[in-house]
């Protein structure tokens, strides 16, 4: 094949490419990026970690990068019909669709998945009374004081009774 053992290419999967694109090109956080890719946050972090290691390997060892494979599925284009309220797709990419597959109405629009509302947004929670505030990136939750009972707050989802200082409430 003409490729020596030292110079066989580094294979980056499509999901690894996507992880680098989401994190390092579009600057999404891992929680957000995981939602976009439809995987759990830990899985996303694993994919991203693997991607970064492969890139580093290629840089340091001067190897070629090849993009291929992985568990990917390119969804077809989806449309919604304003007349009968259905959703429909069509399988020929790039072909223009002008009427609803179900009812034939021309009152249709292409559907883009722009559900950007972060369901799992970071929040600070009071371990004492349970009241929550929106977490400010860059400010540790323990620097926040609960407006109701003056306790130090912790990150939502973090185990209670971790760390010190939570005895100073009231």
């Amino acid at each position: 094949m003409g490729i020596s053992e030292e110079n066989h290419p580094v294979v980056i999967n499509f999901e690894e490419y996507e992880a680098i694109r989401l994190s390092d090109f579009e600057f999404h956080g891992h929680v957000e990026a995981a939602q976009i890719m439809g995987v759990s946050r830990p899985t996303y972090t694993r994919i991203y970690e693997s991607a970064r290691r492969k890139v580093a390997e290629a840089f340091v060892q001067g190897r070629t990068i090849v993009f291929e494979g992985g568990k990917v599925y390119f969804d077809s284009e989806w449309y919604s019909c304003n007349s009968c309220g259905c959703w429909f797709n069509h399988t020929e990419k790039g072909q223009k669709i002008d009427q609803c597959t179900l009812c034939g109405s021309t009152d249709i629009e292409q559907y883009f998945d722009n559900s950007q509302n972060p369901v799992n947004e970071d929040r600070c929670v009071c371990p004492n009374c349970g009241s929550e505030t929106v977490h400010l990136p860059g400010t540790p939750c323990k620097n926040e004081i609960c407006p109701a009972c003056k306790c130090q707050m912790i990150r939502r989802g973090a185990p209670f009774n971790q760390g010190s200082g939570n005895n100073n409430c009231n």
Binding site: Y73, C86, F88, L102
Partner: protein, 105 residues
Amino acid sequence: MKIAITSTGNSPEAKLDSRFGRCSFFVIYDTVSHSTEFIPNPYIENIEGAGLASANLIASKGAEKVVSGEFGAKVKSLFDSMKIKLVILKDPEKRINTIIELLNH
């Protein structure tokens, strides 16, 4: 053209089944002869793979479109590769004859 619809019963008055792989009946409607065929879903009790098996059944009947309430990711990509169009109707109260009327636009 043949169109498959997922149904909760075996009559035109039955309502749309919102599940694809585990629907009660498949209706195969022929837009040319206006005939309908009701097929009981043989895969309803399958522990796994009901969606893919149902998709293959529908493809073997020659349907070019499928109307249901929801499709899973595996089924979507299989239908895409078989060039079968999907229609999602989020209305479990719609009756099969109403859907057939819509299809005869």
